[in-house]
């Protein structure tokens, strides 16, 4: 395998792994937080406004980790610096 194939394989595999694991773990975390928020809502329906607002902010915080993974995999696929370096070298040759 020359370096071009190696970079392509590494980028694609890493992008898939990044999105896969990066969706799985935040999903587990969000599931836990929604479950406990539902339990809290069932116990105290009066505090629903506060609980819902805190839940939304917390969910956005958790989800941003998934978004980071997504952005990294998008960069690996569409705007890969190593790949464009190899391409410019191959064109220059």
């Amino acid at each position: 395998m020359d370096s071009m194939t190696l970079i392509a394989v590494a980028s694609i595999v890493t992008a898939g792994l990044t999105t896969g694991i990066g969706c799985m773990m935040p999903a587990l975390g969000e599931g836990r937080s929604v479950a406990s928020a539902l339990a809290a809502l069932a116990q105290q329906p009066d505090a629903s406004a506060t609980i819902t607002r805190t839940l939304f902010v917390g969910l956005a915080m958790i989800e941003s980790t998934a978004i980071y993974c997504f952005v990294v995999s998008m960069i690996l696929i569409f705007a890969n610096p190593f790949w464009s370096h190899v391409i410019t070298q191959a064109v220059g040759k």
Partner: protein, 232 residues
């Protein structure tokens, strides 16, 4: 397929480029400014009001109530800044139902600019509230050991604000573009509807987080978290 609307260039002259981000940002700003100018031109305090005035009053009082619930004591002081952030991001994501439109918030430049506004505004509000020394002292809370971590958190939350909004809006556009090539009939519409919901949630999150940061910077001496009285 392009990663951000920055890459769609309509017109360029030398180093000056007019890309889709700038064009749609200015279009949204014109809609917001001219729209509210037209509506507030003839305000009435009587019982009979125009529909648009009612709409604006609902929006403004709703935002003010939300800011107040976060724990800021004078919501009307921060209404201009936080309300503008919310309205701009919300309009930017609601407009994705218009064909040919690309949300300017799907570009990292726009979201970085919005996050930098928050990054600058938080110390300004903090200094205005507790004075320069008092604000600087809040970095050394609870102990001096926390000083570097407080500074790092200041920077990292700005980065998180920018990347969160960018990632959410960009992923919405990207998923619709990918689905169009696979299942071009029903699913892109469903994902666009979902994108409307996430766009509104992101607008809410962005302004609520900005409000929380301002509330943390202006935390005054005797303030306690506002606990709503339990009625029963």
């Amino acid at each position: 397929m392009h990663l951000s609307p920055d890459q769609v260039v309509y017109w360029h002259y030398g180093a000056f480029k007019l890309n889709a981000t700038i064009a749609f940002t200015w279009a949204l700003m014109l809609v917001l400014v001219i729209g509210s100018k037209l509506i507030t031109r003839k305000l009435s305090v009587e019982l009979h009001r125009s529909r648009w005035q009612n709409l604006l009053e609902i929006v403004v009082t709703g935002i003010e109530k939300q800011i107040g619930e976060v724990g800021l004591r004078h919501p009307e002081k921060y209404l201009g800044f936080l309300g503008t952030l919310f309205l701009f991001i919300a309009l930017a994501s609601v407009c994705i139902v218009i064909p040919g439109y690309e949300p300017p918030t799907a570009s990292l430049s726009t979201t970085a600019a919005l996050a930098l506004c928050v990054f600058v505004a938080v110390p300004l509000f903090g200094i205005e509230d507790q004075g320069f020394g008092g604000y600087l002292k809040s970095y050394a809370q609870p102990t001096v050991i926390m000083l570097p971590f407080n500074i790092i958190s200041e920077l990292s939350r700005t980065l998180a604000l920018a990347v969160r909004l960018f990632g959410n809006m960009m992923s919405g556009a990207m998923i619709v573009a990918i689905l169009l090539t696979i299942t071009p009939f029903i699913f892109p519409i469903v994902m666009t509807a979902l994108g409307l919901l996430t766009g509104m949630v992101q607008a809410y999150i962005f302004s609520i987080l900005a409000a929380v940061y301002i509330a943390a910077a202006t935390r005054t001496r005797e303030s306690a978290p506002i606990v709503e009285p339990i009625t029963k």
